[in-house]
Subunit: 515 residues, 2 copies
């Protein structure tokens, strides 16, 4: 039996551990609808905090939010032939608009077939492009900077809560620009917004870089991503930004009248992040006791557990906790009101402690009659829960704790980032040949366990082949269950030989197993 | 030609006027997907402000947000037989999960038919009930107070932007309680949240009351609504709250272990408001120059239009406007930062003025070189735009304007409410007989125009018939295109005879034409 709060540890079985965190932290659960999840209050609270803080950044960079239809006519998808080749074959298709009772049994009414099937949006490029075609008339209308928060559906056979589900929640930005330079600059600006957001708000260090040609979004000239390292060494693509050239503008005829009266095609971009980010947070910060939430996205940052015993002094303890909560809530942390909460549920105090440990509340306070009488606060930092075999509980005078609270939350945020950053930096290994790559990732190892052991990422020089040569590289990597994640924005000045082609290297790329 | 900013006035043709406001205020537009709308930035900005302020109230009353699947298995709908009788026959049905290329043409893959069709949620009672069945174990888990912000789809043949569309955005609250009294109290508490929200935030006076039996949500024991009066005298149901008894708990087997160890059925409630509210705001506050937005939901509360002339002094004017905007943005209005904006778009100043008039920005400033040089602010109040034939523009010293700005916004919010409240109060007429009702609503009038002229609502006594007797009443009203809106919460102590049955009255109800 595990000595920890979860029934399985990361070392024992990482995928099972992930599922245990999602379940025991009460983040989400499978639903009766194949591939769709129910996001529970604690998980959705994290998403709301992600939304609000990212939305602020999206608005600060000049975007306005809109809402476009859930359904996309099949003819729109057909128009985007490239699009379809990419990912859009498995989609939820609406074919009828009525149910009817047949002898007391509900059936799809065959007479209510739609003239044209509707696709539940897997992404909104085509339907938004159709609107851009109407909205863009003159150079005065540019740049057009739009964002949408929405649910999208991609039929998936193998699903995993947050990481891969048929329906998920995301934000998709779509912009149109007068020229290439501005559109390219915007693509990179939004990539940088994602990087800064991931590192500041999620405390999740990432590597921003460009995806290789074979991993581009269909129809994009360039695709950029932020890649985060999970504790099993795998990469998680946590956000993407695409420069789409004029391909989508051509397909949708998005043109503007320039200052000379000519009709010119727009250059467009799109970029998005999704509830997948929450999976990244879990696998970046979780430990064998459950989730550890960065305070900036913790729905409750400080949880106060009153130690009640069904005795008269309970009232004093509760009053003490309530007053403490009120004083904490007056403080401001990360630019908004501090989120403090008194857990009054009628369950055992010990159960409450472990409940909040598993959910990853950053500071957990346990207040008993002695604390109340002595004007003291006993607390645990979730990021430093254990000291050897013991729980590392600390105490401070009440007012000193209230004064220290915001600083403690900031410390926890910084500590979680620092931990993950050290892990990331320490697990990217320069590799100089394909043979070394095979050895590094344990491809030769007979036993699965050794092959699957933590390896991190490789950083290698390559000659940036294209077309068939690139497909050959991808195939060699695929045999090792590897992919090129991206070419980091920060590049050295000189390169070794390409590990795939032996030709002179022109770029360094990161190679990893991935989600 | 209209002397106003819109091509059609309310008096000329109210439905056309409504469409003109939606279009010319840039709120929303029809999409290429039948029945679905595109909500444009100005309209979505209003929705975001509605969401945030209502969400705060929903959380203050103890609810947590979740997210449930978009799709509902057909068997779930079938289980809710009553439900289906009500409104759920016209629904978007997903039957397949793949498209395929057949000779270069995209088609629905017949091999990818779902075993069970999925319904795009028209409401989430059944899928949330399924979760409640798992989540409610013991009395300690109650009350369970959940809310969801989501898109829903109801296949509609005749659509109208915001008022009736196939897809719309809403919030749906769902709660489970240990006993009837608590559930009933909660149903009314949420009704009161809606009333207060509509009146305070939307400046839209409403009458809260109970719907008659024939207008109940299918499966509800009691349905309550808030009803607002549009400027054409029609009623708009702007929010509903339902006490569902134990019907849904029975269908989904939502039971809790009580303190004695017994298994007891929960009592549940549900309640919702939608983007329809925006239609209500338009028809409550709009005038012949376009929309007038209550400042609490105006995405930009103060719009500064610099009067630029392509001359050297333009730079001074812009600098003056920017500094003014910054000072205004430091102020707080309605509990959050004041939203001030400088419109720098490269279009004519006069076009900008009328653009913001039509969009209903509460305060519109026009700043020319003389204002900048003289330290002055020239402004229009959108709620008092005209004085006779002229535009009512005012001027204040710059600092005096900055100091007055929040007060002006509060005045505008109050004035819009007061206007609408006076209209509502003045247009509810007590009617004592069915013959008078017919006359009042112009049923006998030969000409359509007289029949359609502004009439407001009737307040009548009735004996509250049920079953077939109630159906007979509804049919008599339907012949006059009327419905019973609700029985207001505030009732007199004594009642006249029922205008339908002549039996002693037991309640007063409101009767109106409606959206």
């Amino acid at each position: 039996m595990s000595k920890h709060a979860l029934p399985v540890t990361r070392a024992e079985n990482f995928p099972d551990w992930y599922q245990a965190v999602v379940r025991d932290a009460d983040m989400a659960e499978a639903s009766p609808v194949r591939g769709c999840m129910v996001i529970k209050p604690w998980g959705y609270g994290v998403w709301e905090l992600i939304q609000r803080q990212l939305d602020d950044r999206i608005k600060e960079t000049g975007h306005e939010n809109c809402y476009f239809p859930l359904f996309i006519p099949m003819s729109f998808i057909a128009k985007e032939a490239q699009h379809v080749e990419g990912f859009a074959k498995e989609m939820a298709v609406v074919t009828h608009h009525r149910l009817k009772n047949v002898n007391g049994k509900l059936e799809v009414d065959p007479e209510a077939e739609l003239e044209e099937p509707l696709i539940v949006r897997p992404t909104s490029e085509t339907i938004i492009g159709d609107a851009f075609n109407r909205w863009v008339q003159s150079y005065r209308d540019l740049p057009l900077l739009i964002n949408q928060w929405a649910n999208v559906v991609r039929w998936e056979m193998r699903t995993r809560l947050f990481l891969r589900t048929a329906e998920f929640l995301w934000q998709e930005g779509h912009t149109a620009h007068a020229d290439e330079a501005e559109a390219r600059e915007h693509t990179l600006r939004m990539l940088e917004v994602y990087r800064e957001f991931a590192e500041t708000v999620l405390a999740m260090p990432v590597i921003a870089g460009e995806k290789p040609e074979n991993e581009r979004f269909p129809g994009a000239d360039n695709t950029y991503s932020i890649e985060a390292m999970m504790q099993d060494g795998k990469a998680l693509q946590a956000g993407t930004s695409h420069y789409l050239g004029t391909h989508f503008a051509e397909a949708q005829d998005i043109r503007y009248q320039d200052k000379d009266g000519g009709q010119t095609l727009c250059h467009t971009t799109s970029w998005g992040v999704s509830t997948r980010m929450i999976g990244g947070v879990i696998m970046t910060h979780g430990d064998d006791d459950g989730l550890r939430l960065p305070p900036a996205i913790a729905p409750k940052q400080i949880v106060i557990v009153p130690m009640l015993r069904d005795k008269p002094e309970d009232a004093d303890v509760l009053a003490y906790c309530d007053a403490l909560q009120k004083d904490l809530a007056k403080r401001s942390a990360f630019g908004v009101g501090l989120r403090a909460f008194v857990d009054k549920k009628a369950t055992r105090s010990a159960d409450k402690r472990w409940n909040w440990v598993r959910r990853g509340a950053p500071l957990i306070l346990e207040i008993g009659p002695r604390d109340a009488a002595g004007g003291q606060v006993t607390f645990m930092r979730r990021d430093q829960l254990r000291a050897g075999d013991k729980i590392a509980s600390q105490a401070l005078a009440r007012d000193a704790f209230v004064d220290a609270a915001v600083g403690l939350l900031e410390e926890i945020q910084a500590a979680l980032y620092a931990d993950a950053k050290a892990r990331l930096d320490g697990a990217i290994t320069p590799i100089a040949s394909f043979a070394d790559l095979e050895t590094y990732f344990g491809a030769a190892a007979e036993d699965d366990e050794a092959a699957a052991a933590f390896k991190g990422w490789a950083r290698v020089s390559w000659s940036k082949p294209t077309g068939d040569a690139l497909e050959a590289v991808a195939a060699r990597l695929k045999a090792l269950k590897l992919t090129i994640r991206n070419a980091p924005m920060a590049q050295p000045k000189a390169f070794g030989a390409c590990i795939f082609t032996d030709a002179p290297g022109v770029e360094e790329v990161l190679i990893a197993r991935s989600y």
